[in-house]
């Protein structure tokens, strides 16, 4: 434990790392501008040849202090911040915050809005997983898949654009509902997209997943035993890839997920391939969910009657949703005023990345890249 003065004396991470270096090792600075750290993650590595002796992620390069911003904004103003936390699965964060406020204020959304939320959130999950898939293969040196994934994603983003009004930083969930409705033309397009995506997933499997070079790069790489995942609080595909069937949508059901039929894919492999396969199956499950939701969706209002300035009572609430990367939690404390008293955003990538230091010890540099990719990190979400 150090005081701020002592930290200034000791120097920051770089020096801290250089001091403890052995004679025959090399300190390598991976990032914050490295092609495979996807954004501005920085990892300090001490390597012996190409073997990693220790690794330490250095965070904070895209820190924006969302939690402080929340304290100066009204509840409604803060919704747009949530799209910037995790830009790949923005709607899940949107939902976590809106859901927390709704729970505390006891203003549930209308049934039709619940279904619209499920549909848009799952579409968003597919687009997130597709991007991860392409980027992960890019990390492994395969250039082409990411362009195929973007082809699918383009069609998906067009649908989401018409459904929510934006393509990346969504903010379409409001307290008590959503901003835009789905018409028959959109429903038709979603159905067509589901059929197309199923076809494509078959192709991806035969073209990429079964490729022996790819299997050589992901099999038996980065084993996360179950107890290690639990110790670090890992969630999402990282945890499910270690054989724990934990999904917030099933464990702590919210919205209309209990009425939808889907399974929680898991893998007992515990390695990078396990996490890869879990995500590929999640794509199929999300398609199943959307397929049921567009059929079951009831008619009605998309926005519940709300006062112009919602009164949020004093108290605390914790609302968790399942994001593409794991459990997204929003802990909210209210003093009864117009803006949150304290808000804590629990980012899944934050916990998932914290196990990287232990996981990457003794692996090759190329494997560390593979492991980093298999954790599916979104850096703005970690730094917040």
């Amino acid at each position: 434990m150090f005081t701020r003065e002592q930290i200034a004396e000791r120097g920051f991470y770089t020096q801290h790392f250089e001091q403890g270096k052995q004679d025959n090792t090399l300190i390598l600075n991976m990032g914050p501008q490295h092609p495979s750290t996807h954004g501005v993650l920085r990892v300090m590595l001490e390597i012996d040849g190409e073997y990693i002796l220790r690794a330490e992620p250095v965070l904070g390069y895209i820190h924006r202090m969302h939690e402080k911003m929340a304290e100066g904004k009204t509840y409604a103003q803060f919704i747009t911040n949530m799209g910037r936390v995790d830009y790949l699965h923005a709607l899940a964060w949107n939902w976590a915050f809106v859901g927390a406020v709704e729970k505390l204020g006891d203003t549930p959304p209308t049934p039709r809005a619940e279904y619209l939320r499920v549909i848009t959130c799952e579409l968003n999950r597919i687009s997130s997983h597709l991007l991860w898939w392409g980027a992960y293969l890019l990390d492994l040196g395969a250039f082409t898949p990411i362009l195929y994934a973007f082809g699918d994603r383009e069609e998906l983003l067009d649908i989401l654009q018409d459904l929510t009004g934006s393509r990346l930083t969504y903010a379409s969930f409001t307290f008590g509902g959503v901003v835009a409705d789905m018409n028959d033309a959109l429903r038709e397009r979603i159905t067509r997209f589901i059929a197309r995506m199923r076809d494509r997933l078959h192709m991806y499997k035969s073209l990429v997943t079964d490729n022996f070079i790819l299997l050589g790069r992901v099999e038996d790489i980065g084993h996360i035993p179950m107890d290690m995942a639990v110790r670090y609080g890992a969630t999402g595909p990282v945890l499910r890839g270690s054989g724990v069937a934990y999904d917030v949508r099933r464990a702590e059901p919210y919205s209309v997920y209990p009425q939808l039929d889907f399974i929680v894919p898991t893998s007992d492999r515990t390695d990078a391939l396990g996490r890869y396969l879990v995500r590929m199956q999640e794509l199929e499950q999300s398609l199943n969910i959307i397929e049921q939701a567009v059929v079951q969706i009831p008619e009605g209002e998309i926005q519940a009657k709300m006062p112009k300035k919602p009164k949020i009572p004093a108290g605390e609430v914790y609302f968790a949703v399942e994001g593409a990367r794991g459990k997204i939690g929003c802990y909210l404390q209210s003093d009864g005023g117009g803006s949150p008293y304290r808000i804590k955003l629990r980012a899944p990538s934050f916990s998932n990345l914290s196990l990287f230091a232990e996981l990457s010890q003794g692996t090759l540099l190329a494997d560390a890249v593979s492991i980093l990719g298999s954790l599916d990190l979104v850096i703005p979400e970690i730094d917040r």
Partner: protein, 320 residues
């Protein structure tokens, strides 16, 4: 009086440099177009019809760029490396018979000359990585040395198997030893040798899936991380020139050189060579990259023993 042989070599060298430079431009365009179509996009499209002038624009851009030497780099080694990388490749093309009379230097030991100069390429990569005083560059250089040294052995063994069959290291003789029709070519008599040679050629030219010295998702850009402008441009040209050499040698050794049905000549040679290059490009845009230990395992565990077995097989064929 100038020695006519020397004059011939000088003229040939100038011609080869032009050929290599033009080819590099054409291949850059081909690579980007093929990549585009593999990835369901049109590729370069803006400069000239169908983007055909794009490589020219790129070349001008590279030449117009400022040459920067990183602080603490060794300037002599740093700038020697790209030149050293490009020149030996040009020499490698000297003894290659493109047509019945289209050969710059008819050497009895042509194959040895190619192998000797090709070995210089790794030295330049090593110098580039070392001289640029960059940790990623150093790692890339270390990878390049280990990879090239390892793959030179099965490569030599595969070449040796052909030399056993023809009893010569003269590339023109090897070409003439093969007949007009595809079934008379070495690739059918010695298919394993061809496969081993082709895999090794991929590794020796640092092409995907064996592009570990410059694996950009791991080592940012490997040995040429610090190079900009024509420094990078020369490495880039050398990569394509290396591909030309590797594919030309494969054409001579295994695919009958300029031999071909109906009208033997240099067009057959170029056709075969470009077909091989096309295959290499296609592989690059299809497969992920292997890991380093997998790369070396493939070499020591599979290619070297197989190449040795292949030699035994070839000796038996020759005896029969």
């Amino acid at each position: 009086m100038i020695d006519p042989q020397l004059l011939r070599i000088l003229i040939a060298l100038v011609g080869i440099l032009g050929f290599v430079a033009l080819n590099a431009l054409a291949l850059v365009y081909a690579e980007r177009k093929i990549a585009g179509h593999v990835q369901r996009r049109p590729g370069p499209y803006e400069v000239g019809p169908h983007g055909i002038l794009q490589p020219l624009a790129d070349a001008l851009k590279l030449m117009g760029k400022q040459l920067t030497t990183p602080r603490d780099a060794d300037p002599v080694i740093f700038w020697l490396a790209p030149i050293l990388c490009f020149m030996p490749v040009a020499l490698c093309i000297l003894p290659i018979p493109f047509g019945p009379n289209l050969i710059a230097l008819d050497l009895n030991l042509g194959m040895v000359l190619i192998l000797a100069f090709a070995g210089l390429g790794v030295l330049s990569i090593c110098l580039a990585g070392w001289g640029s005083n960059n940790k990623w560059g150093l790692l890339g250089a270390a990878r390049a040395v280990a990879q090239n040294v390892a793959y030179e052995i099965p490569l030599l063994l595969a070449v040796l198997s052909v030399a056993f069959m023809t009893g010569s290291l003269n590339l023109a003789t090897i070409t003439e030893g093969q007949g007009t029709w595809p079934w008379q070519w070495n690739v059918l008599l010695n298919p394993l040798g061809f496969i081993i040679y082709f895999i090794c050629a991929l590794a020796e030219t640092n092409r995907a899936p064996f592009d570990l010295p410059e694996a950009e998702s791991e080592l940012t850009a490997g040995f040429h991380t610090e190079y900009s402008g024509m420094g990078f441009g020369l490495f880039f040209m050398a990569e394509y020139a290396n591909m030309i050499v590797a594919c030309s040698v494969a054409t001579v050794l295994f695919l009958g050189g300029w031999n071909g049905p109906f009208a033997p000549g240099w067009w057959w040679f170029l056709l075969k060579m470009y077909a091989l290059i096309f295959l290499i490009i296609q592989i690059r845009w299809t497969y992920p990259r292997v890991r380093f230990d997998q790369l070396l395992n493939l070499c020591w565990r599979w290619l070297v023993p197989l190449a040795l077995l292949n030699l035994v097989y070839v000796t038996i064929i020759v005896k029969l």
